[in-house]
Every structure is written in structure tokens, then in C-alpha cells.
Amino acid sequence: FALQGSRWKVKDLTYRISKYPTSGQMTKQDVDGEIKKALDVWTDHTDLTFTQKRSGRVHIDISFLEGEHGDGDPFDGSGGTLAHAFFPVFGGDAHFDDKEFWTMESFRGTNLLQTAAHEFGHSLGLSHSDDNDALMAPFYRGFEVKPSLNDDDIKAIQALYGVKSSSNLASSLNEISSNEIEFDRRDSETNHILCNDARIDAIFTALDNSTYVFKGQEYFKLVDDSIADGYPRKISSDWSGLPSNIDAAFTWKNGKTYIFKGSQYWRYTNKNKDSGYPKPISKGFDGIPNSVDAAFVWSGNGLIYFFKNGDYYRFNPEERPPVKETYPKPISNWEGIPDNIDDALKYTNGFTYFFKDGNYWRFDDKAFKVDQANPAFPRPASFWWFGCS
């Protein structure tokens, strides 16, 4: 799942259907009923409540519109885009394409209940999920008797609004103000462990361009220069079969992420483990020792490098043997890079970064030495990467 970054601060939300569909077989009462059911999908697992209003300001305005309707994201008629919604910080409203043939309890047309339940996930602060079984997957699944949240959806909504309590403790606020929207952006200067101890086990960028840091039993997702909302998370929750305290990881140009620990390695496509793993390093990476310190694809030549203690190995999967006899070579060849590093990363900006003991170095590929920048390297990763003060 993915959290957009904003959420409602109150749990008693109001909504209004300001423009009903102009065609199709559904009456206004039908639409009211289906919209209510769609919102109930989210109340089943949280303390959120939704109250329909017929007039006045509401949290979530719902309307059926066609073509260009004033928000710069026009609808396209039947099929294609069915609807869209705005995250809490942008108002939370939901728009539905009035040119769709909206239906209820039928395999014909486009099922309003399922579409609306998905859109209201956005209104509450959720982005799309790459879990195909999740309600927040972006593609329309067709008529389902009773749309419901799967585990991925439940984790997402409860990350924002907490679990459903046994009694209704929610208090209601009648006025809407900007104070009702907040960013569920943890104050990174005070909260997460990387601010106290910025040493890491591994860092890599997955196929979907998400950059992850692994430390102990947890992992973090990085955004810009801090940690993404909702993190850290337990490795065991999201990376099926992967142990804690990994050694190193990298993503190869085939889109696969290779994660190493001890004598074994695992292979993932984003967070989905490929079958048949783990495998021995000796089988898949002939010539590479166990328990490596770091693994990365060097931006200079696109080949895979492994670092261990004071040595490094170059692995070329297209050559036989993949590691030449001239390896290992001393890390001191990488001018300015220390021995026993924690991990290294070719970042999305094209530079290669090396991490050790909470510090990092940026490498100048052309000069083949640590970048001569101001401030100089090493720099503290806690400030420059993890959003700490």
C-alpha cells in the first residue's frame, strides 16, 4: 500500500452528493445507498463515521461530471478513466465520469459501489497499491457482491486512522477548518531510530524507483531527503521470507532486487519474492564470498560490485567466469572510500553513494575518487538522507 501523506484529523466526516448521474438506471435513492455502502467499507476497520448532508460545507463532495469539469483532469467517456478523487490535503472530493453506465448489483455497466469504495480510499489519504487483490489497486475489477478491504488495505487505512475500537469513542466536530487536515508526516527530527543511530544494514532502489534502507528487523522507505510516512515497518510484514539483519542488496537492470545474508541470497521484484529463493551465493554468484558488506551496481560501468572487509570484487554476469582471477582487489583503489562499509547505492540521480557507521560518501566516477564537494565527505546520513536535525 502507499500513503499519500495527508489525512483527516477528525474521524467524523460528512459528505454530499452535489451532482447525481444524469443517465443510467440508478435513481437518486440508489446512488445514495451505494455511496453509503462504499463509505461503510472503510468504517468496518476504523472509527471513521460518515454522515450525508444535503447542503452546506462537507468534507467529501461527490459529483458525477463529464469531460473537462474544471480540475484540469478531464474524463474520457465510457471506459478508460472511471473516476478520480482528491487526497485530504486537496479537499477529498470524488468525481465520477457521468458518461459511464453506472449500475448496482449487476454485471452490466460499471459498478458504482466498487468504484466509489476505491475512490473514497483516496479521499481518506491512500494512494494506489500494487497488490492486485487490494481495493486500492488501480484497475476496475468488475462487479463484486460486497467489496471489502484486504489485508493490504486494512494496514493502510489503520496506519492513518488506527484500528477500530470496541466502542465508538469518536467525538464529532461540526466545523470544518484547515486544522482538520494534517500531514501524517512524522516529525523526523524526533521520532525514528535512524536519527539516534544512522548505521544501516543495506540500502537499495527497487524497480519502482523506491529507495529502501534496512536496519535490523525494520526497513524504511526514503523520499527526497527523509523517511516516508508510515515507516519504519517490519521486514517480516512486507518482504515474504526475508530475514532480519541482512548484509547487502542491489537491483539489477533486469528489475530484480537481490538481497544477501550469510551464504544465501533472495530475489524480489519490488516486494514480491520470486519462487525458488533463497539460493546459495555460491550458485548464483560464483566467485563472491559469503557475508558481504556491500553490493551495488556501479554507475561508472553498470557492473555489479561486492565489498567485503578491505577487498572488493567485480561481478559481470555476462562473462565466464563472472569474477576474474585478478579479484579481489583492495578497496583502497576507490580513493577515499573506507574498508568495512555498510552498503553502497547507485541512486536515482546517477551517483554512487557509500555508507559506513552513519556517514556517507558520494563518489566521483570520472575522477574515480570521493567527490570533492562542500561540505566535504563524509557527511552524516541522518541529516542528509533520513530527515533528522
Partner: protein, 100 residues
């Protein structure tokens, strides 16, 4: 019947789709000329990201299955929100710290 928006063998329509749903938001406009993008190789990375997100075989090819998936009815919100929020958001940035 709905008109398919992404056509077989049409890299342009595929690129429009990938742009619309946020897969190309990280594109470095200084280093990618449009003619480079409009090739199978130019879009390969973005097609792979879409295929991975959609739970498909990750080939990087605009094959018929990929086109079919791109023409599936769907939500209009981007799949990839990118690393930055819109300029008029209320998110606080630490301006003294430049991006990596």
C-alpha cells in the same frame, strides 16, 4: 464500446498513458530528448515499472498483454505520485538541505 486509448504498437499512446499515471515523473528532461523516449528502449524502464505495478511479467516490451492492461478501465489517480508534492501543498521542506 469504449475507444482503446493505448493502441498496439503505438509508443506515443503508451507514453501518454505512462505520463498520465505518473510513471515518467522522474524523467530528467535535460537528458532525455523526445525522440529517444519514443523508442522501445526509451520507454523500457517505464513500461517495466508499469508491468511490475500491475503484477504482470516484467519484460519492458509493449506487448499485447501490456496494451490490454493499459486499456483496462481504471481510476484516474496517478499510480506514482513522484517524490515531490505539489507546490501549493502544506508540506514543510527543510530548505537548507538540498536534494541529493
Amino acid at each position: 464500446m469504449p475507444i482503446p486509448h493505448v493502441k498496439e504498437n503505438s509508443l506515443t499512446s503508451a507514453m501518454m498513458y505512462l505520463m498520465k499515471y505518473g510513471y515518467m515523473d522522474d524523467m530528467d528532461h535535460h537528458h532525455h530528448r523526445s525522440e529517444n523516449l519514443l523508442s522501445q528502449d526509451g520507454l523500457k524502464k517505464y513500461i517495466m515499472e508499469f508491468q511490475a505495478f500491475a503484477g504482470m511479467n516484467v519484460t519492458g516490451e509493449l506487448d499485447s498483454d501490456t496494451v490490454k492492461m493499459m486499456n483496462m478501465p481504471r481510476c484516474g489517480v496517478k499510480d506514482k505520485l513522484g517524490m515531490k508534492m505539489d507546490a501549493d501543498s502544506h508540506q514543510v521542506h527543510h530548505h537548507s538541505r538540498s536534494k541529493r
